[in-house]
């Protein structure tokens, strides 16, 4: 298989900051025209991986290719082909929307007009304010401007580091619609997020924690291959319930998840006998029901497997 069909190729990348291991032999592949999500909590090593891939940081070990080019040897060429949107808004706050756009376009040797079609769906939303300084924009507008600037040179691979952090739910959903539009135009996108619910909007995801990748698959398949029985349970006193559940031998794992606690059944689990036992312990208004796992359940299960 020709490697050029891969947008991103990561082989055994490790990176440490002093004693903290930020990335521990990470490998993954992103296909062309794919939205690939890196899902994991803060401190999972997502930003470090991004920085290595966009040539801002050198890995201690392993190698990586972006658009078929080595990120160390061909770093200059890589820079021309990637669009990077850091987690923190990092455009010039004292320049206007228009000036930021023109500035970054010229640095890449293009003009705004040249690639206007690509950015138009996003840029049009902020164009009425183009004389306004970037520092005075709202969070959602900043995010759109940052995306426009990352796209202005028509990159082949787009890196979005936690683009939706700190953005309201409606804007987040809109943002994902924009990403799907971009994918239609042939862009490959690597996006990271700490929000598990956004995983379903990616083509494939990598669940990561503590510098390691727990699993890579499509979100749908990842949920399908969940091989345990999951139940939701609630009672009047949720905290006491959690404590009782954690002492019960027939339960592998139990954790809070909104209205219901989620519990993963172990061998010898029986819903009726559990309910009986709990009632004897004095829990009132008990309700147990089987539930369909989501990405968060998958993540927690993988995490507990990891710790065994």
């Amino acid at each position: 298989m020709d490697t050029s069909t891969l947008a991103i190729e990561v082989n055994g990348i490790s990176k440490s900051y002093d004693k903290v291991k930020a990335l521990d032999h990470v490998s993954l592949e992103v296909q062309r025209g794919e939205i690939f999500g890196l899902i994991g909590p803060d401190g999972a090593g997502k930003t470090t991986l991004f920085k290595i891939l966009v040539t801002l940081l050198n890995a201690d070990e392993g190698n990586a290719k972006v658009d078929g080019l080595d990120v160390v040897a061909d770093y200059r060429k890589v820079r021309a082909r990637v669009g990077y949107m850091p987690g923190k808004f990092s455009l010039y706050p004292d320049l206007t929307i228009e000036e930021n756009m023109e500035f970054f376009a010229t640095l890449f040797g293009v003009t705004v007009e040249q690639n206007y079609d690509l950015v138009a769906p996003i840029y049009k939303q902020i164009e009425p304010f183009k004389k306004r300084r970037a520092g005075r924009l709202s969070g959602g507008m900043k995010q759109k401007l940052a995306l426009s600037c990352a796209l202005i040179h028509k990159p082949s691979v787009l890196f979005l580091d936690e683009p939706t952090t700190g953005v309201d739910a409606v804007s987040r959903s809109e943002f994902w619609d924009m990403l799907h539009n971009l994918r239609e135009q042939g862009l490959s996108i690597l996006v990271s997020t700490p929000y598990m619910d956004e995983a379903s909007r990616c083509d494939r995801i990598a669940l990561c924690n503590n510098g390691r990748i727990l699993d890579i698959d499509s979100p749908k398949h990842m949920v399908e291959k969940f091989d345990g029985k999951l139940f939701g349970i609630k009672a009047q006193d949720m905290y006491a319930l959690l404590k009782s559940l954690r002492e019960d031998k027939s339960i592998a794992n139990c954790y809070t998840a909104g209205e219901y606690h989620h519990l993963l059944a172990s061998t010898g689990f029986n819903a009726q006998s559990l309910e009986q036992r709990l009632a004897e312990l004095g829990h009132k208004e008990l309700d147990i029901k089987p539930i369909v796992p989501d990405i968060e359940d998958v993540f927690i299960k993988l995490l507990s497997n990891e710790q065994l």
Binding site: L56, R79, F103, T106, L107
Partner: protein, 367 residues
């Protein structure tokens, strides 16, 4: 090349849009030039003198009148006992005490010597020593006058003092070139360093680093703006020196600007090192401040290098302001030429290369 142009355009735009910087570049040199030359004077004035007159003679009265008339000395009191005067000195009301012994006039006429004595408060060493010197000069002058009135044949000075290059001994003339040095350090050393660290703090440097723009042109674009700002600042300061103090350079302006530009290169290179080694503005400011203190106090800006201990004099050879201050004073006040100052120019050129090389090296280490 067009990359550099667009970078420059961005820097100029940001500079102009900053609510503070353009005003700083204009107001700062004017303020400094208007205030500092007046206040940083080593000339001692208003030395308060208390006279202990034990003689009560015509001569002692003449001496007291002379002190009263001096523009440097102020007659605080005439007392009958040293203890009384000393109390005022202890209080700090009096800087020097002149004691005129009994029968001074008698001895003066007969030729036998009764000594006058001066006691000065030398907590402030400069004021103490200069004050007592002024007092001694005043006494010497009045005694000479009185001698002349007794026997006119003795008149005439043996020693003639001429103060070349600064005939009126104005401390201001000595300070103005030094102020230009301080202005350059602040405008072209601090500002670009803070600007660069600012991009680190805001995170914009990351966005720049993923573009194909080279670090070199990115930095150069910033420096050019501050180089120009530095030259503007000097020009404003020179104009103020001329308009307000009537002081113009004796030597050629070209030589001054050449020296200034070399010095700007050195200091901006130094600022780059500071910005490379710091990740926040606070760190950069403290880093710069430490060295600027050394620059100010050890480069001959305020006190002459020749009066420092030998080891300190060796240290000054690596301090860039040393050479520039020397160039500025010599060209400004004595009209020294480029050729006269060639070693200073060479030293500055070498330091410029060293500093900027250092900036390039410290940058690589961080990436």
């Amino acid at each position: 090349m067009s990359t550099l142009k667009v970078l420059l355009k961005k820097e100029v735009l940001q500079f102009k849009r900053n609510s503070f910087l353009p005003r700083l570049v204009v107001a700062f040199p004017i303020m400094i030039m208007l205030i500092i030359p007046w206040v940083t004077t080593m000339d001692v004035r208003h030395v308060n003198v208390s006279v202990v007159d034990n003689d009560h003679s015509q001569v002692s009265q003449r001496i007291i009148n002379k002190i009263n008339a001096s523009e440097y000395l102020t007659l605080h009191s005439v007392t009958g006992s040293f203890d009384l005067s000393f109390k005022s000195l202890e209080h700090g009301d009096v800087d020097a005490i002149l004691e005129i012994p009994q029968d001074f006039e008698k001895g003066f006429v007969t030729g036998s010597t009764k000594k006058l004595s001066i006691s000065a408060n030398s907590v402030n060493a400069t004021k103490g020593s200069l004050g007592s010197q002024y007092l001694a000069q005043t006494l010497a002058a009045s005694i000479k006058e009185m001698r002349a009135s007794l026997s006119p044949a003795q008149a005439g000075d043996l020693v003639v003092i001429q103060n070349r290059y600064n005939p009126t001994l104005e401390y201001r003339n000595f300070m103005i070139p030094a102020i230009l040095v301080i202005l350059i350090i602040i405008i072209t050393g601090f500002l670009p360093a803070l600007n660069l660290v600012g991009e680190k703090e805001v995170g914009t440097i990351e966005q720049i680093n993923v573009t194909p723009v080279s670090r070199f042109s990115f930095t150069l674009a910033k420096l050019i703006v501050y180089w120009v700002a530095g030259l503007i600042v000097i020009t404003i300061a020179l104009i103020v020196a001329w308009l307000v103090y009537g002081q113009t350079a004796v030597g050629s302006l070209f030589t001054i600007y050449t020296g200034a530009f070399l010095f700007i290169l050195v200091i901006s290179g130094f600022g780059l090192i500071a910005s490379n080694l710091s990740s926040t503005m606070q760190q950069a400011v403290f880093f710069m401040f430490f060295f600027v203190m050394v620059f100010m106090l050890m480069s001959g800006l305020l006190t002459p290098i020749e009066s420092m201990p030998q080891w300190a004099q060796y240290v000054t050879y690596v301090l860039p302001p040393r050479y520039f201050i020397s160039i500025m004073r010599s060209v400004f006040m004595k009209g020294a030429t480029f050729y006269d100052m060639r070693f200073n120019f060479m030293a500055l050129a070498i330091l410029a290369v060293v500093m900027n090389l250092g900036a390039a090296l410290t940058y690589r280490k961080r990436s």
